[in-house]
């Protein structure tokens, strides 16, 4: 094992994986590192890869630190911290010849498992921890010392971070961890890695005043700020953080966040709250989302405002609970029995999550129908640095709601008045003069059950008209890239950051592209169909097995010949180079001269 002297560049983009067994604390290492890099003025993106079990089993956390804007992990991993052999096995494929590996050789030395030229630092972290601290879990802190040195962070800043993090856990724990960290520094010295001699130099700028936040937390925040005051959830990965975050916050605002006995109670309790005029949300994932179908259709039929967050994970059924997917899109758009109006919004990063949660909450009130936020595990649980949200920009739209004074001036109040042809003004219980009947049976304007064919048609049309009306006001897509390019991308959620980075790679390869990032997928907006029409070929990038999104465009009239499905459904996110390569393979036959085709190899 040798390290050569090395003139460190400024840290501008680095990817780090920490991996071991569940419970080994890989997530903790990455969380600490994320804080440190943010302190150092960098942006950060982190990702987790765990199993659906509490201890044991391979678990990894990945971090990217960078200046600029990235919403995904990069194509090649610079540093792998591996607490066991399995961590090496599972992650070697992300390494290249420039990578560095820190390996815990308590269980045996590595030989030959790594790509040649990889620099290896190995040490028996576990044994060291057991010997000196009597507890295995301190191995992280020891390794962390080494990681800091490699990345060119100052010992001092690591110490501070530890203080910040472990203080609340009590003095002893803090001291033990600090001791472990010092052990790590000593070990680094022994391995020839003195302070300031790391791989990078970290430019000292002022700390990055950005939020370090997940999509789930951003959704919770958006809901709160949009006046959301009632939330129900039932624990399910990867949505649980929304429940837990709102359980912390909502009571401080006089709101309620309730863990219900199941998802059926969840959706119906939220509906009950919505009936009183309280802005209500539920969050769940596939299995719970399936269970909510009846309640969702009911909200559509009875015209009850409700926001449903689906943090998609790998399905079907219990599937792979901790792995990302985008395979509930069909269920969001076509779920529930019978025809009813709905709106499906698709955030692409935490900022979107915040702003679209605000929008969703308002839209549910304006259109009195279910509004979905289509999340995915990566978007839900990965953290990213983002500029603080502009709370002052948040406007609350109460929709057509009548109070007692307004009612007094009305001769007759009909909950389901056909007067507007779509949305009808409503009152909430407690309002004098506003009595109403609300029902999921077909009903007349007063809410009285009716099976009159004439009434039925009017009521159905009234409900469905909301969609046409809403179309003009729904969140529109963001556009990136060259508007003239023949080649288009469409992708939502976790593919957002990957597509943007692949576009850069493609540009470097001489291939110009443009990207339409829809933020509403139901109804499908004209802009999206126009984008498809305008392009020669559109790569629809999605995480499911059949191309749910691409077919949805066809369902609404898009020409199937133009759509190229780029699908991934193995429970892992795309990495940018993977996408770039997939596109290059297809494009080769279309492009006369591709400048840098040789570079492709380096992107494998």
């Amino acid at each position: 094992m040798s390290t050569e002297s090395y003139a460190p560049p400024i840290l501008e983009d680095v990817n780090v994986i920490v991996a071991g067994q569940g419970g080994d604390g890989s997530l903790t290492v990455i969380t600490l590192l994320a804080g440190l890099l943010r302190e150092a003025g960098l942006n950060v993106y982190t990702q987790r890869d765990v199993l659906s079990r509490i201890r044991g089993g391979h678990a990894a956390a990945t971090l990217r630190g960078f200046s600029g804007n990235r919403y995904c992990i990069g194509s090649s991993i610079k540093l792998l911290v591996a607490f066991d052999f399995e961590a090496i096995e599972k992650n070697t494929r992300y390494l290249d010849n420039h990578s560095i590996v820190v390996f815990d050789d308590s269980g045996g030395k590595l030989n030959g498992q790594l790509p040649k030229d990889v620099r290896l630092y190995s040490a028996p972290f576990n044994r060291l921890a057991m010997r000196t601290m009597r507890r295995e879990l301190y191995k992280n802190s020891i390794a962390f010392g080494l990681v800091g040195r490699i990345l060119g962070l100052e010992d001092e800043s690591l110490m501070k971070t530890f203080e910040h993090r472990f203080k609340r856990m009590g003095k002893t724990i803090l001291e033990y961890n600090q001791e472990a960290l010092r052990l790590g520094f000593n070990l680094s010295n022994e391995l020839g890695l003195a302070e300031g001699e790391g791989l990078y130099k970290v430019k000292k700028t002022k700390p990055n005043k950005q939020l370090l936040i997940t999509g789930n937390e951003s959704v919770a925040l958006g809901f709160l700020v949009a006046g959301g005051r009632f939330f129900t959830g039932y624990p399910i990965t990867p949505s649980t953080e929304i429940l837990e975050t709102l359980q912390k916050w909502l009571p401080q605002y006089g709101g309620v966040a309730r863990q219900t006995e199941d998802e059926l109670a969840g959706i119906n309790m939220a509906i009950g709250a919505a009936l009183t005029g309280t802005r209500s949300m539920v969050a769940t994932s596939g299995p719970g989302f399936s269970l909510m179908q009846e309640g969702i259709g009911h909200a559509g039929s009875a015209e009850i405002p409700i926001v449903i967050v689906d943090c998609q994970r790998s399905g079907p059924s219990t599937g792979m609970p901790t792995k990302p997917e985008q395979s509930d899109l069909n269920l969001m758009v076509f779920g529930g029995h019978g025809d009813f109006p709905r709106i499906v919004l698709t955030p692409g990063h935490p900022e979107d999550c915040f702003y679209l949660a605000v929008e969703a909450t308002n839209l549910s009130q304006q259109y009195q129908c279910p509004v979905f936020l289509a999340m995915d595990q990566a978007l839900s649980q990965n953290t990213a640095t983002v500029a603080p949200y502009k709370l002052d920009d948040v406007v609350i739209d109460q929709g057509l709601r009548l109070n007692a004074e307004q009612l007094e001036n009305m001769e007759v109040y009909k909950r389901y008045s056909l007067a507007n042809g779509d949305v009808s003004p409503y009152t909430v219980p407690g309002t004098p003069g506003g009595l109403s009947l609300i029902t999921g049976n077909e009903h007349d304007e007063f809410g009285i059950v009716s099976t009159s064919p004439e009434n039925r048609i009017k009521m159905m049309d009234k409900r469905m008209n909301k969609i046409e009306k809403a179309k003009k006001h729904l969140p529109t897509a963001r556009h990136f890239g060259n508007k003239k390019s023949e080649i288009g991308f469409i992708g939502i959620g976790m593919t957002y950051g990957v597509i943007l980075e692949a576009m850069e790679q493609l540009r470097d390869l001489g291939v110009d592209t443009q990207y339409h990032q829809p933020r509403t997928i139901w109804p499908i907006l004209d802009e999206t169909l126009r984008f498809i029409k305008k392009c020669k070929r559109v790569y629809v990038v999605e995480h499911n097995a059949v191309g749910q999104l691409a077919h949805m465009f066809m369902h609404q009239g898009a020409n199937s010949d133009k759509l190229i499905k780029v699908l991934k459904y193995d429970g892992t996110p795309f990495i940018p180079s993977e996408l770039t390569n997939k596109v290059m393979i297809k494009e080769k036959k279309h492009i006369k001269s591709v400048k840098n085709l040789k570079r492709e190899a380096t992107l494998q």
Binding site: K209, E217, G272, A274, G430, G433, S436, F446
Partner: protein, 287 residues
């Protein structure tokens, strides 16, 4: 006054027990002095689950089996409302059984009326959880919801009336409404309400009911004794009615809503004053 919907005429068959329930409910409401617009009647699906159409108040028709969670959602977001949930025995004890247990457990201050006719009326008489062994295809023992309620430590009000004994039913209804209005938790009132069309139990039930409160020594405050008494009465082939249990446990809304805040439904969410707090909440993510 603004005109709103005109309460419907009941769709029940002539002789259905549900008429009595509606009459007595209206009476209780009237004498309670609760303003009709402060009062919300939520129901499940079934013959019983049409009662809201006939009453002058805020009415809501929930999904089959889901009236309790819906009612709880309404109560928690606006505890100033009087919330009454109602439905049939199929609705409450079959598809809704899980929610019943959990509502017993969480004890929100709502009044829950089950119109028990021991069958599925609206779908034409199939057996329900309270149908006796031998009714149509039923081979199972029948469920006694009061026993079920007794088995959960946080229940506070368990009563059973009979549509054929309107005076007693009225007393129970008033007591249940009072319990709820006083914020003491869930008032559970099962009404034996015969279905004359599919399973006419009128005469049988009249003969079988036994009012526990007739015995003045009966103590509705002792859970285990109540259990003992109910099992005993059932063992004798009778059906216990009356106020069977009344206990104390803090109501759900009293436990999770703080008096420092306006209830969720009544808040001014557009008030600029909150923005400061939002900022604080967000800034925790600045590290």
């Amino acid at each position: 006054m603004t005109k709103t919907f005109t309460p419907g005429r009941p769709i029940w068959c002539a002789g259905c027990g549900d008429f009595a329930v509606q009459g007595i409910l209206e009476k209780a409401l009237d004498s309670s002095g609760i303003l009709r617009h402060k009062f919300m009647l939520l129901t499940g699906i079934g013959c019983a689950g049409t009662i809201q159409n006939n009453v002058h108040c805020y009415g809501y028709h929930a999904l089959h089996g889901r009236v309790l969670p819906t009612a709880v959602g309404a109560k928690l977001s606006n505890p100033e409302l009087t919330i009454i949930a109602a439905g049939g025995d199929g609705d409450g004890y079959a598809i809704g059984a899980g929610h019943l247990i959990h509502s017993f457990k969480s004890n929100p201050s709502i009044l829950y009326i089950v119109m028990n006719n021991s069958n599925y009326g609206l779908t034409k008489g199939q057996p329900s959880p309270t149908s006796p062994t031998g009714y149509r295809s039923n081979v199972e023992g029948d469920l006694d919801a009061i026993l079920l309620g007794l088995s959960i430590s946080s229940t506070t009000f368990l009563a059973r009336g009979f549509s054929g004994h309107p005076e007693q039913l009225e007393k129970l209804m008033m007591a249940a409404l009072e319990h709820t209005e006083a914020g003491k938790g869930l008032a559970f009132l099962e009404v034996l309400s015969p279905c004359v069309t599919y399973y006419d139990t009128h005469r049988e039930w009249r003969f079988r009911v036994l009012d526990v409160n007739d015995d003045e020594s009966y103590d509705p405050g002792d859970r285990a004794k109540a259990f003992q008494k109910v099992t005993e009465i059932i063992g004798e082939g009778k059906i216990p009615i009356g106020l069977i249990y009344k206990g104390e446990f803090p109501s759900l809304e009293s436990l999770i809503l703080s008096s420092d805040h306006t209830p969720a439904a009544l808040q001014d969410i557009e008030s600029p004053a909150i923005k400061e707090d939002y900022l604080k909440t967000m800034n925790a993510f600045l590290g």
